[in-house]
């Protein structure tokens, strides 16, 4: 039928501007309230079920969402990603950047009654963050010594400046464990990982696998409200696992769930929560993570070694359409490896790749990929994680369509997470892959790992999987890592972004927004940039009615 061809031949993605997909995302920040109400149990939904309840040795988001209520870090982050005191009351960096001093909060107790002190921080840093935590290994690589002159002071001595540390050390990135429970044991197998003991506003009560986790108020919590009242206000938290996405929507509407964290409510269902009197949609909770969705080339493959091919792919993908169709406008198109939310270091003075299929085809022709008799220039595979949520399959389908228009045929390959990781990082047997990666508030921690030659490690997941190796870039990144002067560091990171965007070993596509849906009755004193990992000490539920 002709009319079908008409629809498909034109850039009919413009037809998306109708019927149900809002142009701008629905968003209004979680209401900041004034008078807290004491009492009530907050029903929280997360998915999938976490594998353990401490975050000191891993970066899994859903683990962090739970552990952050029980265990704490030195600081947390406000909306501008500036550090706010948590277990550390104040901190100072020496002018040469090689010493960091933290003054800890006094009179803090672990849930089992033992006192919290600098020994806990020192031990966790040396034995856990530095040795086991994926980001911590990079963040604390320069730590030579940790001194604890008194129970409330921690002094970190660095071999060279580490300006990124202060941007990073919250309960997700650097969670403090109780030394008296973990010292001398196998940290990974310690049963406290499933029944955590922390200093946070909520005490662990029970974990019924396949069902829920129950946390109760910590009566001895150190936190105080603006009027000096004791925190937390809530009696407890009931964290439920709801594997089915549509069921989460139904649960919120039925009032069975008060808050759903981390984009687990399907984006297509968010239009059911537009009533501001009943629901709140928060888009800032994930700022700290600054996640970017990317398409990565295996540059070891001969057909991807020519930069023009990679640039052609970049021109062939309409990022704005991708943002609308797959992410429903929840997010921003990315211009480079550093997300725009990292205001200090982001630069958009880089080579841009606007949607230009003609230019893409011209580049492919130049690179020697002419159209064959079937109209195809190149046939490659795209690997994606089929079980990490709907973004993977949908974006893969979108990319397949986009690239087909310039003569590139994508053969989609899915598998479960284990197969996907094996294929890409161990076997290195793939052409293209997509993934979402957290960039964190500092490029050295979250971005360098993707482009660094020294991070091409066969067999280790989430390393430099593309195989990209550029000595000039390595020098720039390493210099930026150790540069104490802010202005100079900023310049180095700008150069970093420019080099990367010229070579595009991976195409940075969309800056993802993490969406939290909650009942309008949920209030807090202040919003956080790492709201996904907020302790909820200052949260309360307004009464119904």
């Amino acid at each position: 039928m002709k009319r079908r061809q008409l629809l498909t031949s034109s850039s009919s993605l413009g037809a998306l501007f109708s019927l149900g997909i809002p142009l701008a995302p629905i968003a209004y920040a979680q209401t900041v309230g004034r008078t807290p109400v004491r009492g009530g149990v907050l029903n929280v939904a997360i998915a999938p079920e976490p594998t353990q309840l401490t975050s000191a040795n891993l970066t899994t988001m859903n683990v962090g969402m739970v552990s952050s209520k029980v265990l704490e870090g030195l600081v947390s982050y406000d909306l501008d990603l500036k550090p706010v005191p948590a277990l550390a009351e104040s901190w100072q960096a020496a002018p040469d950047g090689k010493t960091l001093t933290f003054k800890l909060r006094p009179n803090v107790q672990w849930h089992d009654g033992k006192p919290f002190g600098s020994a806990d921080v020192a031990w966790t840093l040396e034995e856990v963050w530095k040795k086991l935590h994926p980001f911590g290994r990079a963040a604390f690589a320069n730590v030579e010594k940790v001194e604890t002159p008194d129970p409330l002071t921690v002094v970190i001595r660095l071999s060279s400046p580490a300006p990124y540390v202060l941007n990073y050390i919250n309960t997700y990135g650097a969670q403090i464990l109780p030394r008296h429970i973990y010292e001398g044991t196998d940290v990974l197998k310690n049963p406290a990982n499933n029944a955590p003991v922390g200093t946070g506003p909520f005490v662990f009560k029970e974990w019924v696998r396949g069902s829920h986790i129950r946390l109760e108020r910590n009566p001895n919590y150190w936190g105080r409200g603006p009027q000096g009242e004791a925190q937390p206000y809530l009696d407890g938290l009931l964290i439920k696992f709801i594997p089915d996405a549509a069921a989460r929507t139904v649960a919120i509407e039925a009032g069975e769930i008060d808050v759903a964290l981390g984009s687990i409510v399907p984006l297509t269902n968010l239009n059911r929560f537009t009533d501001k009197n009943r629901y709140t949609i928060n888009l800032d909770d994930g700022r700290y993570l600054s996640t970017i969705f990317l398409l990565q080339f295996n540059v070891r493959r001969p057909h991807f070694q020519d930069r023009r091919v990679r640039q052609a792919f970049a021109h062939a993908i309409d990022k704005n359409a991708l943002l609308k169709v797959v992410f429903l406008n929840y997010g921003k198109t990315a211009t480079g490896p550093v997300p725009s939310s990292v205001v200090n270091y982001y630069s958009d003075e880089v080579r841009k790749y606007p949607y230009d299929p003609k230019r893409a085809e011209a580049l492919l022709e130049e690179a020697g990929f002419k159209k064959g008799a079937d109209g195809k220039r190149l046939k490659v595979t795209l690997d994606y994680d089929g079980f990490g949520g709907p973004i993977g399959p949908r974006s893969a389908e979108f990319l397949k369509q986009s690239l087909a228009r310039v003569g590139v045929e994508l053969d989609l390959r899915t598998g479960d997470t284990a197969t996907y990781l094996r294929r890409i990082f161990t076997d290195q047997d793939y052409d293209l892959m997509t993934s979402s990666l957290h960039r964190l508030p500092d490029p050295t921690l979250g971005v360098q790992r993707l482009y660094w030659t020294k991070n091409i490690i066969k067999g280790a997941p989430w390393t430099n999987g593309s195989g990209y190796s550029n000595p000039e870039l390595d020098k720039v990144m390493e210099a930026a890592a150790a540069e104490p002067d802010e202005a100079r560091r900023k310049a180095l990171i700008k150069q970093w972004q420019q080099i990367v965007q010229e070579d595009v070993p991976l195409i940075e596509l969309i800056e993802q927004t993490w969406v939290t849906v909650s009942t309008a009755r949920l209030r807090k004193h202040a919003l956080q940039g790492d709201g996904l990992f907020a302790s909820y000490a200052d949260a309360w539920l307004e009464s119904k009615g």
């Binding site: 029903n43 290994r137 696998r209 594997p243 089915d244 039925a254 197969t419 997941p461």
Partner: protein, 331 residues
């Protein structure tokens, strides 16, 4: 009377052994052939890991041993009912399964009860009123329910009864917010179990209805039944009793055969309704390459199936005294 029974039991239970061995071997072979292992999953989820650390993990899980050593070790463990440790869930496999098994058993039990009760009722109805409009309507109903994909029915049921009408909860087993106990808890669970159990039962309902109808008609024929009806209620009741007795035997056999497929169906239903049973656990175990957990589930469910088959054979023999307890597998 006692010794043939004991002999029968012993023979049947001994037959479990090769089945267990076979399942272990099958599972082992498949998971070995699979790309990626549990360490890949753990490392991937954790966010990163060095190859040395991953090698360390593999050694601690015993994954670096030669295959036959791993397999032999596993068989030895199974013999002592040590099903191993799930490294992803950080719990012993046996505890995990035992915690989730009752939920699935409840679901399966309720589904069978519904299917049998409704199946017998509808089968009898359509047999009594054979060739009438009721019979035709029921025939169509049976055919359509047989053809319906279970998971699809579950989804549609949630849309109608949960989202639209709000009569029943959309998922889970209990209302976690309210800590019910005793009778209130039982009622809560029943409310949550209604939709999933009904959904799971539909396919079998269709089968049993058909079976009862066929069995009754086979015995008596349409004319006989109509004559009995004409003669009055008492005559009808006696006829029914005899006819049902005839239907009972194949019905019982069929139920036995279908336990395995019920478990399969439970995977889908538990997934759609977020029911915390072992069906969903099995799916998660496959995704996580949790070899120990998956094998444990398959083993225990196979033992369950075999036990139920033994029970069915016993029931069969009790119902029909002509049948002798044979030792070999049925033909």
């Amino acid at each position: 009377m006692a010794s043939p029974l004991i002999g029968f039991l012993r023979r049947r239970l001994l037959q479990v052994v090769p089945v267990v061995f076979g399942i272990a071997l099958l599972n082992f072979v498949i998971l070995q052939a699979a790309p990626g292992d549990i360490v890949d999953v753990l490392a991937g989820e954790a966010g990163a890991a060095t190859p040395e650390y991953m090698a360390q993990l593999r050694a601690s899980f015993g994954l670096d041993q030669p295959l036959w050593v791993q397999f032999r070790q596993y068989l030895l463990n199974v013999a002592t009912l040590d099903l191993g440790y799930s490294f992803r869930q950080n719990m012993p496999v046996f505890d995990l399964i035992v915690a989730r098994m009752p939920a699935t058993l409840l679901l399966m039990g309720a589904a069978i009860v519904f299917a049998l009760a409704l199946g017998v009722l509808l089968g009898v109805l359509s047999a009594i009123r054979v060739r009438s409009w009721l019979d035709d309507v029921l025939s169509v109903f049976v055919l359509v329910t047989y053809a319906m994909p279970t998971f699809w029915l579950g989804l549609m049921a949630i849309v109608l009864f949960s989202a639209r009408l709000g009569w029943l909860p959309s998922g889970g087993m209990v209302d976690l917010g309210a800590s019910h106990t005793g009778l209130a808890l039982a009622w809560d669970v029943a409310r949550h179990a209604l939709l999933p159990a009904l959904t799971l039962s539909t396919f079998y309902l269709a089968v049993y209805t058909k079976l009862v109808r066929t069995a009754m008609l086979e015995l008596y024929g349409a004319d006989f039944i109509r004559t009995a009806r004409a003669k009055g209620a008492g005559e009808l009741r006696i006829t029914l009793a005899h006819a049902l007795r005839n239907a009972l035997l194949p019905l019982v056999t069929m139920v036995g055969y279908q336990v395995a497929s019920l478990l399969s169906g439970a995977v889908l239903v538990e997934s759609v309704f977020n029911w915390p049973g072992i069906g969903r656990l099995a799916f998660e175990a496959v995704m996580a390459r949790d070899f120990n957990l998956l094998l444990g589930i398959l083993l225990l469910s196979s033992i369950l199936v075999t036990l139920i088959n033994v029970l069915v054979d016993l029931l069969y023999a009790w119902l029909d005294p002509r049948v002798q307890l044979a030792g070999g597998g049925s033909a």
